[in-house]
């Protein structure tokens, strides 16, 4: 057990976890997930929001088993290695809205940091703008961190508090399996409260069991290795440390090779799957997300893995993301293949203002 623990805590372990994510993201795409979306925390949480009826964009509704797997895989790893530590109470409402706006930004770009990497590995040049924006946002977050920014201390909480989010994921799994349809359309046909897309990206998915198992493995590996895209970029800027960066290079490298092997690589900017070519808003969307992730201490994947460890603050961030996805589609903020939604750009500006206010107001005097 100690040898296994040491391996996962090493750079080699981290690279292996990254390679696993890259390889299986490409394979999940081959097995049915949408283009360059083998794994995307933001898109998959958006689909979950749709499946629960929090938005009614018919093309993006599915209870993605990968997300459920991420949390439960991290829970299993945390329990096995005695790292399950229920905790919370570090500015929960701010974390909720950081999650909310992180999702708004991600859906303007159309992807989380992992999907930005996977889009790049699939040849989508627009991802370069997204990754540049992500880096800019994280850089701004680092400036706040250096000037004493903190959301305050989390404290230990009762055990059940740490179990709530993983149990909620189990509930989603049950809903996925039974897919209740006790609602009725005006014509009398069964509908909702769980909605699955009949066409569009939400209808494209790998077999449930495979998605769940891959999700569990990713959750397990990422909990052990602390894989985090935001942390990778932040650590290079903040402490000139490339340790976490090796994990994301593993993702890009492995996904790139697998895409070549599977014939999924297509270089260019136009007609890329689930992407638009508006460079300014690809950049700005991800800049908002990057800043929100930096202020909350982790990329969306990392927030799910922390939730599996019993971190209630991370669970609130993840919940904020799911609610943010609902608002993004209901309020025409999310982008489509044709470009940003009508109210996407203005909401990105509002989100940036929110993050900057949080960054300035949540500072403690440096001793």
């Amino acid at each position: 057990m100690i040898t296994v623990k040491k391996f996962f805590a090493s750079r080699s372990g981290l690279v292996c976890a990254g390679v696993f994510v890259g390889v299986f993201a490409a394979l999940l795409q081959k097995w049915g997930n949408p283009g360059n979306m083998g794994i995307c925390v933001a898109c998959m949480e958006r689909d979950i929001a749709g499946a629960l009826g929090l938005h009614r964009a018919a093309a993006v509704q599915y209870l993605r088993p990968e997300i459920i797997g991420f949390v439960l895989g991290a829970l299993i790893a945390a329990l096995l290695f005695r790292e399950f530590k229920p905790r919370g109470g570090s500015s929960p409402i701010l974390r909720f809205f950081l999650g909310f706006f992180a999702m708004v930004g991600a859906l303007v770009f159309l992807g989380c940091p992992w999907r930005a990497l996977l889009r790049l590995a699939g040849g989508d040049g627009n991802a370069i703008l997204g990754l540049a924006g992500l880096t800019a946002g994280i850089w701004a977050g680092v400036l706040f961190l250096k000037s004493g920014y903190t959301l305050g201390r989390a404290t230990k909480v009762k055990s059940f508090s740490g179990w709530v989010f993983p149990i909620a994921m189990l509930a989603l799994l049950v809903l996925l399996l039974i897919a209740p349809q006790f609602g009725r359309t005006p014509e009398g046909a069964p509908t909702g409260p769980i909605f699955f897309s009949a066409k569009g990206p939400g209808s494209q998915h790998a077999p449930l069991f495979i998605s769940l198992v891959v999700g569990l493995c990713v959750g397990f590996l990422a909990q052990r290795t602390r894989l985090c895209t935001m942390g990778a970029i932040r650590d290079v800027i903040l402490i000139k440390n490339t340790y976490l960066l090796s994990g994301i290079l593993g993702i890009v490298g492995a996904a790139f090779v697998m895409n070549l092997i599977l014939g999924q690589f297509k270089a260019g900017f136009v007609n890329q799957p689930i992407a638009h070519t508006d460079s300014l808003w690809n950049f700005m969307g991800m800049a908002l997300s990057g800043l929100a992730f930096a202020l909350a201490g982790g990329c969306p994947g990392r927030q799910l893995f922390l939730s599996g460890e019993g971190d209630g603050d991370a669970a609130i961030f993840a919940t904020g993301m799911i609610v943010g996805a609902g608002f993004s589609h209901n309020f025409s903020m999310a982008s489509s293949a044709t470009g940003p939604g009508a109210y996407g750009p203005i909401t990105v500006i509002i989100g940036l203002i929110f993050c900057i206010v949080v960054g300035f107001t949540m500072r403690e005097k440096i001793a």
Binding site: S90, R226, N241, G297
Partner: protein, 71 residues
């Protein structure tokens, strides 16, 4: 030991930032930092290694006490 930092409950990367700041202020010597997660323990140990400080880790109940030294 005079210098002691309590970084328990702080999100990543604040324990690392506090450690880095202390390392830069002291230049050499010794100080303790208390953290409550394995991740913070690993991150601080890595920073110490990178900057040439020795680390000794003690388990204190559910937390970790890291003693950083540089001559």
């Amino acid at each position: 030991m005079a210098d002691k930092i309590d970084a328990r409950g702080l999100s990543c990367p604040q324990p690392v930032i506090l450690t880095k700041r202390k390392i830069e202020t002291l230049g050499k010597g010794a100080f303790e930092i208390l953290v409550d997660t394995e991740t913070s323990r690993e991150n601080i140990s890595r920073l110490a290694q990178q900057t040439g400080w020795n680390v000794e880790v003690k388990r204190v109940d559910d937390d970790y006490c890291l003693i950083l030294k540089k001559n």
